[in-house]
């Protein structure tokens, strides 16, 4: 399973990552960070759809997203 981590204290809630994700799995959460920005999130339930393409991270002006990719074949071996 590929996965991302959004640094919620860095996120400014611009939602450019939401638009950039080809799988449309990132959403606006209902949480606010310490600076008062409503942060983006990838709900745990959608994480297995993530391909690790890093489009979200490339687009993020605040470099708030870290991406790990797991090769598909490897993932299948582990199933």
């Amino acid at each position: 399973m590929s996965r991302i981590v959004i640094d919620e204290q860095r996120c400014k809630g611009c939602l450019l990552c939401v638009e950039a994700c080809p799988k449309s799995i990132i959403v606006a959460s209902s949480r606010f960070n310490a600076k008062g920005y409503k942060v983006a999130e990838l709900p745990e339930a959608s994480m297995d759809t993530c391909t690790g393409c890093a489009s979200c991270a490339q687009m993020c002006p605040d470099v708030a997203i870290t991406v790990w990719r797991t090769a598909k074949s490897k993932a299948k071996e582990n199933e």
Binding site: Q9, K12, G13, L15, P61, V63, T66
Partner: protein, 252 residues
């Protein structure tokens, strides 16, 4: 399960929150510049020249030695730095108000002299830092605080196309315009900045990359709408592409 880290912050990009507004693409351009510096192994030998505009605090984010130039003078300061320290890698980072308005003379002459420097020019069609006044790059019809009814061709003339002008100057080795509104264009921006840096590393001449970017705050748009405007309105006015590449011209 073997997972691979495929995207993380470059080390030379400070791990701090920026002062930029939500959705401001100065952050994307900083990140790409930081990645290119690392990939070419330039971090230790780089001297950056920052300008006046929202990116004035570049030195807080890209952790290299930096000289802060007076408004518009970054190419002149970079000229001095490079001539005094030929071994250093020198890049200037300027906005459109800084470069195409008050700094028009400096950029033209530095480019024409073929200074071995690289200029990253972030065009967001407005004076961002000072609250959204009209810039030389403001588009016809675009509303700003100093042209509240929209820029008028009759009164203020049309937007200046810097890349097209710079490409005509003799000392220029590489000149391109890119954007960071899509993943494809972000990749293109990175290739262009790499090539501009390469021209300096190889001593080929002056390198210039204009990056179309958003200023959601002064465009009075959401970040997403501002990003869409880049594709719908800016790119048709400011076409993307490589306007000069000396290396390619040599091979007929």
């Amino acid at each position: 399960m073997s997972e691979q880290l495929v995207f993380t912050r470059p080390e030379v990009l400070a791990d701090v929150a920026t002062h930029y507004c939500p959705g401001c693409q100065h952050g994307v351009v900083h990140r790409i510049v930081a990645e290119c510096l690392e990939e070419f192994g330039l971090v230790e030998k780089t001297i950056a020249v920052s300008s006046i505009g929202c990116s004035v605090f570049l030195y807080n984010y890209i952790l290299v030695d930096t000289v802060e130039a007076p408004h518009g003078r970054a190419p002149a300061v970079a000229t001095g730095v490079k001539r005094a320290r030929k071994d250093a890698f020198v890049f200037a980072y300027q906005g459109d108000g800084d470069l195409a308005s008050i700094g028009m003379a400096e950029i033209m002459h530095a480019a024409n002299r073929g200074e071995r420097i690289s200029v990253i020019f972030v065009n967001n069609t407005v004076y961002g830092m000072t609250g959204g006044q009209m810039a030389p790059t403001t588009m016809v019809g675009q509303k700003t605080t100093t042209c509240p009814a929209g820029r008028c061709m009759e009164r203020e003339g049309g937007p200046i196309h810097m890349s097209e002008i710079i490409a005509t100057l003799g000392g220029v080795a590489y000149c391109a315009r890119t954007a960071v509104n899509t993943i494809k264009n972000i990749a293109q921006t990175k290739r262009a900045i790499r090539r501009a840096f390469e021209t300096q590393i190889n001593g080929e001449g002056f390198g210039f990359v204009e990056v179309l970017a958003t200023c959601p705050t002064n465009w009075r748009m959401s970040s997403v709408a501002a990003n869409e405007r880049v594709g719908k309105e800016m790119i048709p006015e400011f076409p993307l592409g490589v306007f000069k590449d000396a290396a390619k011209e040599e091979q007929p």
